[in-house]
């Protein structure tokens, strides 16, 4: 391949060949100096737990980690908004020398008194780990005293990548699950795992299930509540959307509470319909399946005319996508194909070997598949593949725009829900608004301006 890729990243960029599946190198620490788009363990745990709106989230470390995650994404709440304040123990030099346990305890007590949370999550950052604070012991002491769960999240940034942060969040959630009373939960019930209600998606999906007659015991963690999570072990099925972050939790709940799980996606109408049907099938109640069929029919009818119209305008556009986890990538490739868009580049921050095999399976021949890329590589891919629209997060946005290429935020800064049937239309509208904007016609990539003005 003609792209310039660091030796340390050998094997992490491939082009899908005809028919054969290539093993992608992945699950490695980011190459030093590469300018990876990945964050750290803390980030992984923080994004998963962040939407729990009636809990206090105390970031134990110097100010940065809390400051950067203050109100970092939508994570909409229908009630309390405790999660939207940023709490830091704000460790100073003295604490680094003498230890941060005392400031952790006093900060947590002060904030507990002010806000009366239903639980407290204490995130141990790099510094908490290195100075040897016994965060778990402080949490145990506080829990005994305050009478609400005080849960340590062992998420020191250096422990690994975002995936390790998901595992830390899983352990934290598991310590809540099982504490609540499940007697009044109906048989046809689920937990929705891996939707974070960034722009209201959890509400859309929850409504679908409720219309089908399925009780949603908890959403982990979109619009999350401590009490719901404590009862999550009473559901009969776990429906896992963001599989990258939530499969560890689903597996643990299967092991510990005997709850089976399915992996689904609510991006695109095909995947959404599949998700609803698969769930309905497992509910073992024909009435639920009937309602699912009616729902899909009704919703599809509502959105298909506009989708068809948008498809005409998007047909043949070339897309690149770079997202956190592979399951979102699978789903997006399918959703884009339905809109007539060809995916030329598909990458993720944290995909596993099996996931990259599956990603190659859904992509067309010749698609560039990339793990843990960086701006230097991305800019090469966008130009070489003559991409019309790039789908990614905030850090990818300027790479696209600087080259005069359309961009669609499928991450932190999106404000429009992109899940479910209405989300499929919203995504198509977003893609249309960016891929078909007339501003690109003025950009030097499309229309080199003559140096000399002729008179």
């Amino acid at each position: 391949m003609s792209f310039e890729v660091l030796d340390d990243r050998h094997g992490q960029v491939i082009r899908k060949g005809q028919g054969q599946v290539v093993q992608l190198a992945c699950n490695r620490a980011s190459a030093a100096g590469s300018v990876s788009q990945r964050a750290c363990t803390f980030c992984g745990s923080r994004v998963v737990l962040y939407p729990i709106a009636d809990a206090l989230h105390v970031v134990h470390g110097p100010i940065g980690c809390a400051a950067y995650t203050w109100d970092i994404r939508g994570a909409l709440s229908s009630g309390p908004e405790l999660h939207r304040i940023s709490c830091s123990t704000d460790l100073r030099e003295r604490d680094v020398v003498f230890g941060g346990e005392q400031p952790l305890e006093s900060t947590t007590r002060r904030l507990f008194d002010q806000h009366a949370p239903r639980a407290v999550f204490v995130y141990a950052t790099c510094i908490a780990g290195v100075i040897g604070d016994d965060v778990a012991a402080v949490c145990r002491g506080l829990e005994a005293d305050l009478g609400v769960p005080v849960i340590p999240v062992m998420a020191e940034g250096f422990r690994g990548n975002k995936r390790d942060g998901y595992n830390a969040a899983t352990r934290a959630l598991l310590s809540l699950i099982g504490r609540g009373d499940t007697t009044r939960i109906q048989k046809a019930s689920i937990n929705l795992l891996g939707d974070f209600n960034v722009a209201g998606e959890s509400w859309i999906i929850r409504k679908y299930f409720e219309r089908m007659g399925i009780e949603v015991v908890s959403v982990l963690t979109g619009d999350g509540r401590v009490q719901d999570i404590e009862r999550a072990h009473g559901a009969s099925l776990n429906v896992v959307q963001c599989a990258g972050s939530m499969t560890p939790l689903a597996k643990a709940m299967e092991r510990e509470h005997g709850i089976p799980y399915i992996r689904v996606s609510f991006f695109g109408i095909e995947d959404t319909s599949d998700a609803l049907y698969t769930t309905a099938k497992l509910m073992d109640d024909p009435a639920i399946m009937d309602r699912a069929r009616a729902l899909v029919r009704e919703e599809a009818q509502r959105v298909l005319p506009e989708l068809r119209e948008l498809k005409q305008r998007l047909q043949g556009k070339r897309a690149a996508l770079y997202v956190g986890g592979a399951f979102k990538a699978f789903s997006l490739v399918r959703a884009l194909r339905q809109l007539g868009i060809v995916v030329r580049v598909a990458g993720t921050q944290t995909g596993s070997a099996e996931e990259y095999e599956e990603l190659q399976g859904v992509c067309d021949d010749g698609t560039i598949i990339v793990d843990d890329t960086n701006p230097v590589e991305l800019s090469q891919f966008l130009v070489a593949e003559d991409v019309d629209v790039f789908i990614g997060g905030v850090k990818e946005r300027p790479v696209a725009y600087k080259l005069g290429i359309g961009f669609c935020d499928h991450n932190h800064e999106r404000k429009i829900p992109l899940a479910g049937f209405e989300g499929a239309v919203a995504l198509a509208r977003e893609l249309h608004a960016t891929a078909n904007s007339p501003v690109w016609n003025l950009m030097p990539r499309r229309s080199p301006r003559r140096r000399e003005v002729t008179t």
């Binding site: 660091l6 030093a32 110097p62 940034g157 966008l382 030097p444």
Partner: protein, 451 residues
């Protein structure tokens, strides 16, 4: 109060944590400083998240590519030291970017595990045939916030790159705080207008506010050239627009080399801009150009036309100390009352810089937005002026927020916001007046079409 006394002001007793921080961490400031040096790449020894979070924060403000490398510490490096990773990071940066300079700013993690960066960088240089030029600043965020990290990197660059000057050249150094790219462009224009070569450190006016491209540039165009930085000691003067302790002033080093340092406030308002103009006039030995005089005249004309709309209005100002101090002086000059002046910075330089401003009721150092909000509730404020992070507080209080400084994450065009000079003051004054006019218009049942 003179600078040496400032440095002795004791730190306040430790608070119980922070809620809604009014600062971010020191390496962010160092990365911004680095962005203003031509063909420089910033490198943060530490865990990957630091670089990524900082990039995200800066990209949301500037809407430009911001590449910051990390040495990507894992557990092994945390236990045994990150020397190998740092050297590999430098090699990879060289391959991907071929920079002229790498600026290394330490994270809390690197500092806490006791990385000896000078030694590590010395060994790196000794082990490579053609080692990259590296400048290193110590920027743990348990010590300082972003603004001190910014000053620390500027100081490191000056101390490690500027050479002794054999003779003077008709140049003026400008050491600013974290102003906008538009501010940097205007400062250059003003200095040039006196026939002096402006050497801004840093100058991210183009690197963080660039043009559209047909080919991606790994290193954005612009920034202060290393050659220009080396000769900063030869300038006639150094305009130091920062507020920080004397020990942290890059201008002291330049002053010792003969580029006489002049401590000036950030030029917002007529008096503060006059001070800069007067100094430039004295150094250059030539009067200001006509356009600058006209801009001053127009600004005074606007003050006359608009003074009543703003008179007696009560504001809270928050953000980097330089902005807070400059805007407080500006508000004083136009008859507003800067009732609350707050900064998240820990350097204690704000209070003395506010001396002589009428109408101040509260000053907060090392503040978070929780304390700003608590304090604001008793002050019957008419408006807030500061970063976009004050939006929640403004919403809570039901008063407008005028966005200035850094960060501005909820509005478009942060890089193009002009704050400094007569021109920037005019823009701010117009915005203030129009904010009050709009409030009056919206609040009126009559719907006046003349106001």
């Amino acid at each position: 109060m003179n600078a040496s006394v400032r440095d002795e002001v004791p730190k306040s007793p430790r608070k119980d944590g922070a809620v809604n921080p009014c600062t971010v961490c020191a390496p962010l400031g160092a990365a911004v400083a680095s962005a203003g040096i031509a063909r420089a790449v910033p490198l943060l020894p530490g865990a990957q998240g630091c670089a990524t979070y900082i990039r995200r924060y800066l990209i949301s403000h500037f809407r430009e590519p911001v590449d910051i490398a990390s040495s990507s510490f894992g557990e092994t490096q945390t236990v045994f030291g990150g020397e190998d990773n740092l050297a590999r990071a430098l090699d990879n940066i060289e391959r991907q970017y071929a920079p002229e300079l790498v600026t290394v700013a330490t994270t809390c993690l690197a500092e806490t595990i006791g990385e000896d960066l000078p030694l590590i960088l010395h060994r790196y240089a000794a082990s490579r045939k053609r080692a990259l030029r590296v400048v290193h600043a110590s920027t743990p965020s348990y010590k300082d916030g972003h603004i001190e990290g910014f000053h620390a990197m500027v100081r490191a660059v000056v101390e490690q790159l500027v050479e002794a000057a054999p003779e003077r050249k008709r140049a003026a150094n400008v050491l600013g705080p974290m102003v906008s790219p538009a501010d940097l462009r205007h400062l250059k224009e003003v200095v040039s207008a006196f026939g002096l070569e402006p050497i801004l450190l840093p100058d991210y006016s183009t690197t963080l506010d660039g043009v559209i491209l047909d080919e991606y540039r790994r290193l954005p165009e612009g920034g202060t050239e290393l050659d220009a930085i080396r000769t900063m000691g030869a300038a006639l003067t150094t305009l130091d627009l920062t507020l920080t302790g004397r020990a942290r002033r890059a201008s002291s080093t330049l002053d010792q080399l003969g580029a006489t340092a002049k401590l000036l406030g950030l030029p917002i308002g007529v008096r503060a801009t006059d001070a800069v103009v007067d100094h430039l006039q004295a150094v250059a030995g030539q009067p200001p150009p006509e356009w600058l005089t006209l801009e001053r005249g127009r600004l005074l004309d606007a003050y006359a036309d608009g003074h009543k709309y703003v008179f007696g209005k009560r504001a809270a100002i928050f953000g980097d100390p330089e902005f807070v101090a400059a805007i407080a002086h500006f508000l004083g000059e136009i008859g507003m009352r800067p009732a609350l002046c707050a900064t998240g910075a820990r350097n204690r330089a704000l209070r003395p810089a506010l001396e002589g401003v009428a109408g101040i009721e509260e000053i907060l150092d090392d503040a978070d937005f929780a304390s700003i909000e608590t304090c604001s509730k008793h002050l019957e404020l008419d408006l807030l002026i500061g970063s976009s992070k004050g939006y929640r507080t403004a919403r809570e209080l039901g008063v407008p927020l005028i966005r200035v400084g850094f960060p501005i994450h909820d509005r478009f065009g942060a890089g193009r916001l002009l704050h400094v000079g007569y021109r920037g003051t005019m823009r701010l004054f117009d915005e203030l007046v129009n904010t009050f006019i709009e409030e009056r218009q919206q609040g009126s049942s009559v719907g006046f079409s003349y106001l």
